[in-house]
């Protein structure tokens, strides 16, 4: 270390600094005199001048189609969870706005069409829109409909993004090479929650499974997660009580009696995992169990791709932009649709083209990633096109943690500790 042996006075320190600055100024002026003789007369120091150009990049236009299937399903229990007509669409709209803000500097524009209807109408509409340049299709449709849509467009220049369902099968045995998925899978969501519970050392789970086929698939994901991370399902109970209409004057009087009765006599457990994907009964469980135990899964502590109160990693601005655009809070499907739209925008700004094949190939390549308010880059898994992302573990009002949890390791990316990994994949069509 080089430090002066005696401490100089205040005055001498200041003068030393002034001298230093003058030396710098002189050097800069000298440099300038050589670089730009014409400007040498100017008094202010001008190191290495920055020329200002006037060229503009060639214009690029990218068109996106959002298709939303009309489905009739039982409404969720809570008034807070009722569907909005623009769920998902609003997220894509924000993505378009963000892409256009970026595009302004690159002479790029992004447009989106929206189609709603049954799957046959959507396929017909998508085929027409594709002919007029809507090569990127964001789909909020059921798993079967997704496969129908993918097959109908399979020889055409179309890239579909699934935002509508968490079905593992459409990423695995039924995967299609023209579909990427920004919605997390059931196995990813179950793994995210399971890692947290294991990290908490709450390994004994009581599983309460709803009656729908979706609930059976989600229960499978929890069983798999328990095995994968070393937790134990001590008991399973099938919840078959007819929930009836979600709303009636009263109702709680009976629920308050029914739930403890249903939960009576269970084997000792740390936590109750309620499996109810459509959220038609899970919210009956918190604070109504026979023994006092926390609830997780479809109520209580929940794993998701997004939370409306998330403010980490610059999330505040993102939430504010969404609220300003839509007047409501952002739901996971809005986030998933935003990520799909941003992925298209990110590929376009990097490649500076609207050429479909260039953009498609880039998004599928290992070099592609997109920053999506998750602290680390998100990207697509090469073996099935699934978005690789951290997931949020939260209560209804606040984030509790972010998975993957510390200590869960992976040879390539810790994000691949969530969901089905490359060695397990059943997707063949994707890599061919």
């Amino acid at each position: 270390m080089v430090f002066p042996s005696t401490r100089p006075t205040e005055r001498s320190r200041i003068s030393a600094r002034i001298t230093g600055w003058q030396t710098t100024c002189a050097a800069l002026l000298l440099a300038l005199a050589f670089a730009r003789p014409a400007a040498a007369e100017e008094a202010s120091p001008k190191p290495a001048p920055i020329p200002i150009p006037s060229t503009q990049p060639a214009s690029v236009n990218v068109q996106i189609l959002y298709v939303k299937e009309n489905v009739s399903k039982e409404l969720p229990l809570s008034l807070l969870d009722q569907p909005n007509p623009d769920d998902g669409i609003a997220g894509a709209k924000l993505g378009i706005a963000d892409n256009n803000t970026t595009g302004r500097f690159l002479n790029q524009t992004f447009k989106m069409d929206v189609l709603e209807g049954d799957i046959d109408e959507l396929i017909k509409g998508a085929t027409e829109k594709l002919a007029s340049g809507d090569n990127f299709i964001i789909a909020d449709v059921a798993p079967d409909s997704l496969l129908k849509l993918a097959d109908a467009l399979k020889d055409k220049p179309a890239q579909i993004f699934n935002v509508g369902n968490p079905d593992d099968s459409v990423r695995e045995e039924n995967c299609r090479p023209n579909v990427m998925h920004t919605a997390p899978t059931r196995t990813m969501l179950a793994d995210a929650l399971a890692q947290y519970l294991v990290w908490k050392k709450w390994p004994n789970w009581l599983l309460v499974v709803g009656p729908s086929p979706k609930d059976q698939l989600l229960a499978d994901a929890y069983r798999r997660a328990a095995k994968k991370f070393g937790a134990k399902i001590v008991e399973e109970r099938q919840f078959k009580i007819d929930t009836g209409n979600r709303r009636a004057d009263g109702g709680f009087e009976q629920i308050q009696q029914q739930i403890p009765q249903f939960m009576q006599g269970a084997k000792d457990h740390d936590i109750v995992l309620v499996v109810d994907e459509d959220q038609v009964f899970a919210d009956y469980f918190p604070y109504r169990t026979w023994v006092p135990r926390p609830i997780a899964g479809s109520a209580g502590l929940v794993a998701s791709s997004w939370h409306p109160a998330l403010e980490l990693w610059g999330g505040t601005q993102f939430q504010n932009r969404f609220k300003k655009l839509t007047g409501r809070i952002m739901r996971p499907i809005d986030y998933d649709a935003w990520v799909a739209t941003r992925a298209i925008g990110e590929a376009t700004s990097r490649k500076q083209t609207s050429d479909f094949k260039t953009l498609r190939d880039f998004m599928h390549s290992p070099n592609f990633d997109v920053a999506a308010f998750k602290g680390v880059a998100t990207s697509f898994r090469s073996w099935n096109g699934q978005l690789r992302e951290p997931l949020i573990v939260s209560t209804p009002k606040q984030l509790v943690s972010v998975s993957p949890q510390p200590g869960f390791l992976h040879q390539f990316s810790v994000l691949d500790t969530l969901g089905l990994d490359k060695p397990e994949t059943k997707c063949k069509a994707y890599t061919q």
């Binding site: 430090f3 600094r17 290495a48 200002i52 601005q317």
Partner: protein, 327 residues
Amino acid sequence: MPRISQAWPAVAAALLASCYATSASAYTAYVTNEKDNSLSVIDTDKLEVIKTVKIGQRPRGIVMSNDGKWIIVCTSDDNDVKVYDAKTLEFVKTLPSGPDPELLTLHPDGKRLYIANEDDNLVTVVDIETSKVLTEIPVGVEPEGMGMSPDGKVLVNTSETTNMAHFIDTQNHKTFDNVLVDSRPRVAMFNSAQTQLWVSSEVGGTVAVINPADRKIITKINFEIPGVEKEAIQPVGIRITQDGKFAFIALGPANRVAVVDTSTFKVLKYILVGQRVWQMYFTPDGKLLFTTNGASNDVSVIDVASQKAIKSIKVGRYPWGVVVSPN
């Protein structure tokens, strides 16, 4: 994680006794504590906090007026910028900023303050004497980093979601070029000769070095630290020594500051500091570098000549920005 240990105060004290107390750095460092709504004031000679004062809500970016009279702080949750007297720490006035200001930079003319407004995709230009908004410059999504060229002619703003460094002409306040960099660019910093512009990409994990003359990327610097997962390497703060030889890069949750040779672009060293290191500032004599370590509530002091962390100073919760007085 082997952070600066409990034994450090003793070691540091010994170091100080041997050489440091005789150094020339009686400056004042000001650190904003994001979570505590406070400002920690550090004597750079004693290397200890001499005062902590409450300021506005969620203080983040901080600069000093060119004459050293004022400190100017983005109080993000108050949606304004506050001016304090650097000596007395008394509140002077509020500057208009637009919502949620985060980072700012002052023009060499000492008057024009450039503020990044993340919520509005704007850079707001304010005259700090008259407190008037001079103009607003539309930029990309979530403007953040603000790098002023040493000659004051060009401002570079980075936008976190657009992933660009926007080059802005400070005479007409128009954007004249945009350079794509890796994901989530956080900080832009010119070297004093104005031959290099360094831009850190937090999520991309790289630092781009751009030639300001033609806006081409000269090189992209990658970081590799044994035992630290790739995702944790998130470059944010950049400081370049006055002689232009070394760049110090704060690597966020990798808990290290990288030292890079600015001619070979090789990483020479990783200095272990506190947790989630973001912003940094040199003492005016260039001897010390202060780093804010958000997750460990402390400031690390790096001896620039030896490229070693010599002390960790406990400050408030989630220290964010830091500035050191010119005198």
